[in-house]
């Protein structure tokens, strides 16, 4: 069954606040094999002009994915998660996320369409601090293989 296109435009309320921690950033940098000191050493980050350790460019996915997962679980959307693969991903950054940031993610389903046998869903997630500073926008396209067959 195809992903239900009636959900295009659906905006979800902002997530609970997520606090970016030094330990998490170092763990994520280790997991992607990136040894850059600006992700784990505060003085190296300060030398590069940041107040604290920063996040690798793909780290915002950890925050946006939790929100997308919420969208995927929406009753009536008809997504078979075992058949889902990631199709496209794009980020626009106002600045890097950094340790100490407390942010929320607000996800909107921006597009649903069928391409051949597959169903595609694009979400747009705004990541902002709880003080209202916009940090990053994440655009994710998920593909349900065979969803349109």
């Amino acid at each position: 069954m195809a992903i239900n296109p009636d959900f295009v435009g659906k905006a979800f309320p902002p997530s609970d606040p997520y606090e970016v921690s030094r330990v998490k950033l170092a763990e994520f940098a280790d997991a992607i094999g990136d040894h850059n000191p600006v992700y784990r050493d505060r003085s190296a980050a300060q030398e590069a002009g940041f107040p604290d350790v920063i996040a690798p460019p793909t780290f915002p996915i950890v925050i946006s994915m939790a929100s997308s997962a919420r969208a995927l679980a929406e009753p009536g959307l008809n997504v078979n998660y075992a058949m889902v693969v990631h199709g496209e991903q794009r980020f626009e950054y106002a600045r890097p996320l950094r340790a100490g940031d407390v942010v929320t993610a607000q996800v909107t389903i921006s597009d649903i369409r069928d391409v051949g046998r597959n169903s595609l869903m694009t979400t747009t997630t705004q990541i902002s601090t709880v003080d209202g500073e916009h940090v990053c926008t994440a655009y994710s396209t998920l593909v349900e293989r065979g969803g349109a067959a």
């Binding site: 998490k24 997991a31 590069a48 996915i61 994915m65 939790a66």
Partner: protein
């Protein structure tokens, strides 16, 4: 890790030397934990094959992270990534061997933009497969 690249030193059309990034089943297990993405196709061969995949495949975001690392290592610590996008065109298949798989990143300076920004076009391959297409990053350089 490279030194610092400055905007004035960058020329449009310049090539970024290729770098190989290894990826094993352990990489995927660690990435599952660090990212919170525990989709079974990234760690369970039986289920991966049952849904029509050749074997366990890497998280697309793991591959994108290697591309990000390639960009930030090239650009240096004073650079800032402004935009970064990819299309996942083919999965990175990770066999259950000590060597695992390799992702090879290379790139070109596509264009020098205003405000000290530079657009990079990236290529990511694993074996013969092009695993990312439309892979592009914009970085602001000092």
């Amino acid at each position: 890790m490279s030194g610092q690249v400055s905007y004035d030193d960058v020329e449009s059309g310049a090539q970024l030397a290729a770098v190989n990034y290894p990826i094993t089943r352990l990489s995927l297990v660690k990435y599952c934990g660090a990212s919170g993405d525990f989709n079974v196709i990234h760690w369970n061969e039986r289920i991966a094959k049952s849904v029509g995949l050749p074997d366990v495949i890497a998280h697309g975001m793991f591959t994108m992270a290697q591309a990000g690392r390639f960009v930030t290592d090239w650009a240096g610590p004073m650079a800032m990534v402004v935009e970064f996008g990819v299309r996942f065109s083919s999965p990175v298949v990770v066999p259950d061997t000590d060597e695992g798989a390799t992702i090879t990143l290379s790139g070109t300076v596509e264009e020098k933009l205003e405000d000290n920004e530079v657009a990079l076009e990236l290529t990511a391959k694993s074996g013969d497969a092009k695993v990312l297409t439309r892979a592009r990053a914009v970085v602001r350089l000092p």
